[in-house]
């Protein structure tokens, strides 16, 4: 069995980019956020809001407010760069096509011709939330409908 991995060609990157504040934490397309523990969701999580992510560009600090829990994050350089691979099955592409904008549609159409995995981008940094969450009393984040369970350690 051979599963091809397509390397990125210059200029093939998608038109969507992250807000400029994110670039220093990863790339303008993908940011990796590391959490201790994992996000646990009851019910349908599609399109739900997790929390508020605040970025301070000057101090390179970030905070994540999930419900009443405030997490402090920092910028960590990866010891070895990571390639972010994205699966590119035709099934995935065709389903996605239906609710996509015109320009994105074109992009995904050309990609779906080649099955396998794409190297979406290479990241050298990540945003790490390593500490235990701090409770925020009387500071409920509006619209937070998912609860987060953090591993206690």
């Amino acid at each position: 069995m051979i599963i091809p991995i397509h390397l990125p060609t210059p200029g093939s990157s998608s038109s969507n980019t992250l807000p400029p504040q994110f670039a220093q934490f990863g790339t303008d397309e993908v940011v990796l956020i590391e959490l201790q523990g994992s996000l646990e969701v009851e019910g349908d999580k599609a399109n739900q809001r997790v929390g508020k992510l605040s970025i301070d560009s000057t101090t390179k600090k970030s905070t994540l407010l999930i419900g009443h829990n405030l997490l402090e994050g920092k910028l960590v350089n990866l010891p070895k760069p990571l390639a972010v691979l994205h699966r590119n099955s035709s099934k995935y592409s065709s389903e996605q096509l239906e609710n996509m904008d015109e320009d994105v549609e074109m992009d995904s159409k050309t990609k779906s011709e080649q099955k396998g995995w794409d190297v979406a981008t290479v990241v050298r940094r990540k945003m790490v939330f390593a500490k235990r969450p701090m409770p925020m009393v009387g500071h409920a984040a509006p619209g937070a409908v998912v609860s987060s369970v953090e591993k206690a350690n």
């Binding site: 390397l7 399109n47 605040s54």
Partner: protein, 398 residues
């Protein structure tokens, strides 16, 4: 401070498990970064369902290992479209990962070739006693090519594409492996190892014709040689050309062959020696045969050190005074596992001189340091008036 909404994707089922993180060794990072400057290269993950997957670049193979993380990593991207969020204020979690993939360089797994190509030896009209040739002896190509075509159509061919699909090896390493194993790529991509006798015949003919036509050793005309060999022995040009590629370089533009004289002379020597596996040949007699086979112009190249790792030399037990005799004993047919190889070597001979045993360890260690380590581990050194001898460290039962 700028605030953003961290959201889940609007289509979790299509996004989860579609992302992976792959740790990049420096050379692979370079390859990604230099994309566009050269011909786009492609990587692939190879393996049967029962094997551990490997990642192959154009000419290297890496073992893939999954490293489990106790933390989770969220892959966050901008919203795909307006319904998923506002690109200025929202960022979207595409996937949540608990492992990264690590790459470790490894040797290409080409051992399978031998089994896959069993019974497919290529020979043109020559009987070869070494191999099981029941169905494989082909008639003269011109006389019964019709029948040959039918015969081949009946049997499932094993092609280059099959090998590429089944073997965990990069394309570059596969081509190199085929060359080293003397496997021909016939029209249609069919792979067939060349028979020992046909290879020896072609090499002897090449040496003869190079001398006969007074061709320069570093720029012999490929067309002249292949035509001459086809006319005299009915050996296909294609076959001869591939043999020439194994033993030298063919220039791309001019069709000139830079021959590897030592390589050819060595192979001819091994070809002769091969029939003296159980029935040793006196050293002088062998050298005479060898020198006759390679011809006057090349006989100076034929010397025993060229064949090291392929023969055993010992005094003949039946003649007096004892004359040295040679027996065919190829390192390539010994087990590749060090313990098993030492076991085999000490079964063949109870004790070895250091310079006698080292040729048989060359292909299982990368350098002399590693060889000495193996000797230290698997053999016992004894020093007497004749120098250092190695004997078995322990008796292995099975």
């Amino acid at each position: 401070m700028t605030d953003f909404n961290l959201k889940f994707t609007s289509s979790p089922s299509e996004n989860t498990r579609t992302y992976k993180l792959l740790e990049l060794p420096p050379e692979l990072l370079k390859e990604i970064e230099s994309q566009g400057e050269q011909i786009p290269s492609s990587w692939s993950i190879k393996g049967q369902t029962t094997e551990d997957a490997v990642l192959c670049t154009a000419n290297k193979t890496y073992a893939l290992r999954s490293v489990v993380l106790s933390n989770s990593v969220l892959v966050v991207t901008p919203p795909m479209n307006n319904s998923e969020g506002n690109p200025d204020t929202d960022v979207v979690i595409r996937d949540e990962l608990h492992e990264i993939l690590e790459l470790v360089p490894c040797v290409p797994k080409l051992q399978g070739l031998r089994g896959m190509l069993r019974g497919r030896v290529y020979d043109e009209g020559h009987e070869d006693e070494d191999e099981d040739m029941d169905e494989d002896v082909e008639g003269n190509e011109n006389e019964n090519s019709q029948e040959q075509v039918r015969k081949q159509a009946k049997k499932r061919k094993f092609t280059y594409a099959d090998a590429r699909e089944m073997l965990q090896s990069s394309d570059g390493e596969l081509s190199e492996g085929l060359k080293q194993r003397r496997i021909l790529i016939l029209p249609g991509g069919e792979l067939r190892p060349i028979s020992h006798s046909l290879l020896t015949t072609i090499l002897e003919l090449l040496l003869n014709f190079v001398v006969q036509f007074s061709l320069p050793h570093d720029a012999a005309s490929v067309a002249d040689l292949t035509t001459a060999i086809e006319e005299s022995q009915d050996i296909r040009r294609q076959v001869t050309t591939q043999v020439m590629e194994w033993f030298g370089d063919i220039s791309k533009e001019g069709g000139k062959w830079k021959m590897d004289v030592e390589g050819i002379v060595k192979e001819v020597g091994i070809g002769i020696l091969r029939s003296y596996k159980d029935d040793p040949i006196p050293e002088d007699e062998f050298l005479t045969k060898w020198r006759t086979a390679v011809g006057d112009s090349f006989e100076s190249v034929a010397s025993l050190p060229l064949l090291s790792g392929n023969y055993l030399s010992f005094p003949s037990p039946i003649s007096f005074p004892p004359i040295p005799v040679l027996a065919y004993f190829p390192a390539s047919e010994l087990p590749s596992d060090p313990a098993a190889r030492f076991n085999d070597l000490f079964l063949t001979r109870p004790r070895w001189k250091a310079d006698e045993i080292s040729p048989f360890l060359l292909d299982i260690c990368v350098n002399n340091k590693e060889r000495d380590k193996l000797l230290l581990k698997f053999a016992r050194a004894i020093t007497d008036s004749e120098g250092v001898w190695y004997t078995a460290r322990a008796k292995y039962n099975g």
